[in-house]
C-alpha cells in the first residue's frame, strides 16, 4: 500500500511535467493544426536558460525560473514568426517537417554553446521529508505545486479572459475568427508565447528533478506527444489528463512490470486507448483522421 501511494505521487510528479509540456503541443495543434515537434527542444532551451542564469550567472532560482519562462516565450514567438508563419498556407506536412528541423537546430545550438555533457542545477533542496507513507523532496513538492498552479492559471486564462476566448475561437475556426475581427497573427503569437513559457517550466522542473542534456528535448517530445494524442489532439485539458495518466502508469509499470519498459509504457497505453477511442480520451471524433 505504501509503495502504491509512493508510486502514485511519483507519477503525479512526472505527469505534472509531461502535462505542462503537452499543453503547448496541444495549443499549437489547436491553432495551426500541425504537430510542432520542436516543442520538446523549446522546453530544453528553457531549462538551459534557467541553468545559465542560476548556475553561471548567479541569479537566484526563482527569478531565473521566471526569466527563463519569459525568454523562452520570446523564443517560441520568434520560431513561429520565422519558421512557421511563412508556411501557413502550405500543406501541414511542410510545417511539421520544418518543426523537426527547428528541433535539430535548437539541440545543436545548445550543444555548441554549452557542450554535450550532463549538467545539474545542484539545488540545495534534495532533503527528503515524509508525509504519511510517502517520501518527497522539496524539489518534488515544488514540481507538484508549480504544475498545478500553472494549469489553474491556464484554465482561468482560457475560460474567463478575452485573450483566452480568442485562443479558443481561433482553434475552433481561424477564418471565422479573422472575419470577426480577431487578429489571428497576434493570437497565434500568444499561443506560442504561452505554450513555450509552460514548456520552459516543464524543462526547468525536469532539470531540477533529474539533470540537463541538450538531447533531453527528444524525451520530452516523446512523452508530451503521447499525452496529447492520448488526451485528444487540440484539447488542452485532454493533454493535461494524458500527461498525468502517462506519468502515473509508467511509474506503476516500472515497479510492477520492469523498469526497462518505463519509456515504452506511454506508447503501449496510447495504442490501447486509440484502439477504443481513435480521437483520444477527450477528443472530437472528427479530429481522429488528422494524425
Amino acid at each position: 500500500m505504501g509503495i502504491a501511494a509512493q508510486l502514485l505521487v511519483n507519477g503525479l510528479i512526472a505527469g505534472g511535467t509531461y502535462a505542462l509540456a503537452a499543453i503547448g503541443y496541444s495549443m499549437v495543434y489547436g491553432a495551426l493544426k500541425f504537430i510542432n515537434f520542436a516543442h520538446g527542444s523549446i522546453a530544453m532551451v528553457g531549462a538551459y536558460i534557467a541553468f545559465v542564469l542560476f548556475s553561471l550567472g548567479g541569479i537566484p532560482i526563482i527569478p531565473a525560473f521566471l526569466l527563463s519562462m519569459a525568454l523562452t516565450a520570446l523564443l517560441g514567438v520568434l520560431v513561429e514568426r520565422l519558421a512557421y508563419r511563412p508556411l501557413r498556407a502550405s500543406p501541414k506536412l511542410a510545417s511539421l517537417t520544418t518543426s523537426v528541423a527547428v528541433s535539430f537546430a535548437l539541440d545543436a545550438s545548445v550543444m555548441m554553446l554549452l557542450g554535450a555533457e550532463i549538467r545539474s542545477f545542484r539545488l540545495p533542496m534534495q532533503r527528503t521529508f515524509q508525509i504519511g507513507p510517502v517520501y518527497l523532496t522539496l524539489v518534488q513538492t515544488v514540481i507538484i505545486a508549480c504544475s498545478f498552479a500553472f494549469m489553474f492559471g491556464l484554465y482561468f486564462l482560457l475560460t474567463f479572459t478575452k485573450l483566452g476566448k480568442s485562443i479558443r475561437a481561433i482553434a475552433d475556426d481561424l477564418l471565422l475568427a479573422e472575419i470577426s475581427g480577431i487578429n489571428g497573427n497576434l493570437v497565434i503569437a500568444a499561443v506560442f508565447a504561452i505554450g513555450s513559457a509552460l514548456a520552459a517550466a516543464a524543462g526547468v522542473l525536469i532539470g531540477m528533478e533529474t539533470n540537463l542534456q541538450p538531447t533531453m528535448g527528444f524525451m520530452i517530445t516523446v512523452k508530451a506527444f503521447a499525452a496529447v494524442v492520448l488526451g485528444g489532439l487540440g484539447n488542452v485539458y485532454g493533454a493535461i489528463l494524458g500527461g498525468f495518466i502517462i506519468g502515473i502508469v509508467e511509474n506503476l509499470g516500472a515497479w510492477y512490470i520492469s523498469p526497462v519498459w518505463k519509456d515504452s509504457i506511454a506508447y503501449v497505453i496510447l495504442i490501447l486507448v486509440l484502439f477504443v477511442r481513435p480521437a483520444g480520451l477527450l477528443g472530437k471524433p472528427e479530429d481522429a483522421t488528422v494524425v
Binding site: 480568442s166 479558443r168 475561437a169 471565422l176 475568427a177 472575419i179 470577426s180 475581427g181 480577431i182 487578429n183
Partner: protein, 235 residues
C-alpha cells in the same frame, strides 16, 4: 452614392480564375441579392470583398475608399460584417462567447449590445450558456447573424443564410433581414431561394460562370422568362 462598388474584379483560388471582370454596386440602404447557379462565383465575390481571397485585379471601394485586398480585421473596424455560408459559428464556444468574439475589437463594455442581440433573437437568449455546436440549424443561423451584428455594421454581407432551414424559419430569418435594413443596414446577400430573394431585395444581380449576366429590380428579373429559365431553375 454607392456604399460598395466592385469594379472589374478578377479573382480566384490558386491558378483557377473564378471571377472574370465582375462589376456591381450596392447603394446606401439597399438590399441587393446575387442569384445564380452553384459554382457561379457568388461566394468567391463575397470572400474577395471581405479580404479573405485577394483580388487579382480590379478595385473594390467602400464609401469611396479603396478596400481591395484589405484584411478582414480592418474591414470590421470600417463597418463591414460578413456571415459565411458554412462554419459561421464557433461550435465549441458558448452562445454568449460567440457574440463576444463578434465584438473582439471593442475594448469597452459589450454586455449591453449582447442583451440587444438577445432581444432581437430571444430563442438563443435562453441558450446563452450552451455550446453553439449544440444549437439547431435555425438557432445557429440566428447566432451567426447576431455575431455579425455585434459591432452595428453599416454593410452586411450574407451568404445563403436560409440554406437547409424549414420554410417557417426562412421566413423568420428574412423578416429579421428586412428589419435590419429598415434600421439602416445596407445588405448584400447571396441566396439559393430565388423567390425569397426576389421578394426581399431592392435590386438583383444574376451571376453565372464568374460573370454578371443580368441586373435589375426584382419585378423585372422575375418577369423575364429567359432569366427565369436559364438561371433561376424555373421552366
Amino acid at each position: 452614392m454607392s456604399v460598395l462598388q466592385v469594379d472589374n474584379v478578377v479573382s480566384g483560388y490558386g491558378s483557377m480564375e473564378v471571377l472574370h471582370d465582375l462589376s456591381l454596386a450596392v447603394g446606401q440602404g439597399e438590399i441587393v441579392a446575387m442569384l445564380g447557379p452553384n459554382g457561379a462565383g457568388k461566394t468567391t465575390l463575397l470572400r474577395t470583398i471581405f479580404g479573405v481571397v485577394p483580388p487579382w485585379s480590379g478595385t473594390i471601394t467602400y464609401k469611396g475608399e479603396d478596400i481591395s485586398g484589405v484584411p478582414p480585421e480592418r474591414l470590421v473596424r470600417m463597418g463591414l460584417a460578413y456571415i459565411p455560408q458554412e462554419y459561421n459559428i464557433f461550435a465549441s464556444l458558448t452562445v454568449q462567447e460567440n457574440l463576444e468574439m463578434g465584438a473582439f475589437i471593442r475594448d469597452d463594455d459589450i454586455h449591453p449590445r449582447i442583451e440587444e442581440i438577445f432581444e432581437l433573437f430571444p430563442d438563443i437568449a435562453e441558450r446563452r450558456k450552451s455550446r453553439a455546436g449544440e444549437l439547431s440549424g435555425g438557432m445557429r443561423q440566428m447566432l451567426a447573424i447576431g455575431r455579425a451584428l455585434m459591432l452595428n455594421p453599416e454593410l452586411l454581407l450574407m451568404d445563403e443564410i436560409s440554406t437547409g432551414l424549414a420554410p417557417f424559419l426562412v421566413d423568420a430569418i428574412f423578416e429579421r433581414v428586412k428589419e435590419l435594413n429598415d434600421q439602416g443596414v445596407t445588405i448584400l446577400l447571396v441566396e439559393q431561394n430565388a423567390p425569397k430573394a426576389l421578394q426581399t431585395s431592392d435590386r438583383v444581380y444574376i451571376i453565372e460562370g464568374g460573370e454578371k449576366k443580368a441586373e435589375g429590380n426584382p419585378e423585372a428579373i422575375a418577369a423575364d422568362e429567359e432569366i427565369a429559365r436559364l438561371y433561376l431553375g424555373r421552366s
